[in-house]
């Protein structure tokens, strides 16, 4: 089986049912994508597939041949730059474990909705749990990233 991650092809010799999350982490060595719940509840495992946000913990690798997978390590473009800059400038993270997923969701949100209001942030980020409750800073960082994209 061959999948493309961050523009690089990887041949995998695993059970086709293996969730992408574990292929990324254990086989390819990309550990920025996190395990939090294993059932698409918390969003720590968020990646992009063909530009769309996807939960890697419930997506079998067999569904991904020929698709373009991007992880936190490979995300690029103006939305990604704006989001990461805002995340750093506002010191969003506490324990930091969920933040890869938060950032992947935020980039996906801004790619479709460049100027989200608070409700759009609530709706688009509802799938990402932060047990440290960094939510006020996540919200502020998304607004800040949106503002920086205007200019």
């Amino acid at each position: 089986m061959r999948i493309s991650v961050n523009g690089q092809a990887h041949d995998l010799d695993v059970d086709p049912e293996t969730p992408l999350l574990w292929a990324l982490r254990d086989e390819i060595g990309l550990t920025g994508t996190k395990f939090g719940c294993g059932m698409a509840q918390c969003g720590a495992c968020m990646v992009h597939v063909d530009g769309m946000p996807i939960r890697s913990c419930v997506t079998p690798v067999s569904a991904l041949e020929g698709r373009d997978i991007v992880t936190i390590e490979g995300i690029s473009g103006k939305e990604a730059d704006a989001v990461r800059q805002a995340w750093v400038a506002l010191d969003v993270s506490q324990c930091g474990y969920c933040q890869s997923g938060q950032i992947m969701s935020a980039v996906a949100l801004l790619s479709v909705e460049p100027k989200p209001d608070d409700k759009a942030i609530n709706d688009g980020m509802a799938g990402n749990i932060c047990r440290c409750a960094t939510y006020p800073k996540i919200r502020a960082a998304i607004h800040a990233a949106a503002k920086s994209l205007e200019g």
């Binding site: 059932m39 698409a40 968020m46 769309m52 996807i54 569904a63 969701s105 996906a108 509802a126």
Partner: protein
């Protein structure tokens, strides 16, 4: 229904509650079967037979596997107790979820087994999305749902033949009978459901009293 039990507890501590609706969604008869049109042949009156056929189809329509994604509001429900969907997803434009958290963020093209989890699998279908709000079933009587299904203004502009096609062969509708490990399927089969709908149409597509 467990959710009502929980809600009644909520009532005790002073929280007012939203009642699900006049139809007992999710409360299924013990039998998992769907009767065949021939089983209704003994009903002499054509309209009564039609109504009875629709009521049989109602076992499917009100089954949580189907009704969960026909919510009246912006949030689907899930589980046999039809609790609000968690994570708290919203309908979004085009009934596909919100930017950043679309239906397809978690629901892939096929049911995905997650044997390590209590829910056993995540539902999947290439077309996974919510029914449009004008096709909402939750909170409505079976009669009202029936009238709505026949109303082109509220059924996506379908005539009865198209309705049958949708019910009998749509792949996402068919998911209700193939919901993945850990999930109770809708009663009967999609083929039998199609036959019931066809027989209902053939008998004049009469509706139960609203």
């Amino acid at each position: 229904m467990k959710s009502l039990l929980a809600l009644s507890i909520a009532g005790l501590v002073g929280l007012s509650v939203a009642i699900i609706g006049p139809v007992a969604f999710g409360q299924q008869p013990a039998t998992r079967d769907l009767r065949a049109p021939v089983d209704f042949a003994s009903i002499q009156d054509r309209t009564q037979r039609s109504v009875a056929l629709f009521e049989e189809a109602g076992k499917v329509i009100t089954h949580p596997r189907c009704a969960n994604c026909h919510p009246a509001g912006d949030r689907p429900s899930q589980g046999m107790d039809m609790h609000p969907h968690n994570p708290p997803v919203v309908r979004g434009e085009g009934n596909m979820g919100a930017p950043g958290l679309q239906c397809t963020t978690c629901h892939g093209e096929k049911n995905a087994a997650i044997p390590t989890s209590s829910i056993r699998s995540i539902p999947g279908n290439p077309q996974w999305h919510l029914a449009p709000v004008e096709m909402a079933w939750q909170g409505k009587s079976l009669g009202a749902i029936c009238e709505q299904i026949k109303d082109p203004a509220r059924n996506g502009g379908r005539d009865l033949a198209k309705i049958h096609e949708h019910m009998a062969s749509d792949d996402l509708v068919g998911w209700g009978w193939n919901p993945g490990d850990g999930r109770e399927p809708a009663p009967g089969t999609q083929a039998r459901f199609g036959e019931i709908i066809q027989a209902w149409i053939d008998t004049g597509a009469a509706c139960p009293k609203p």
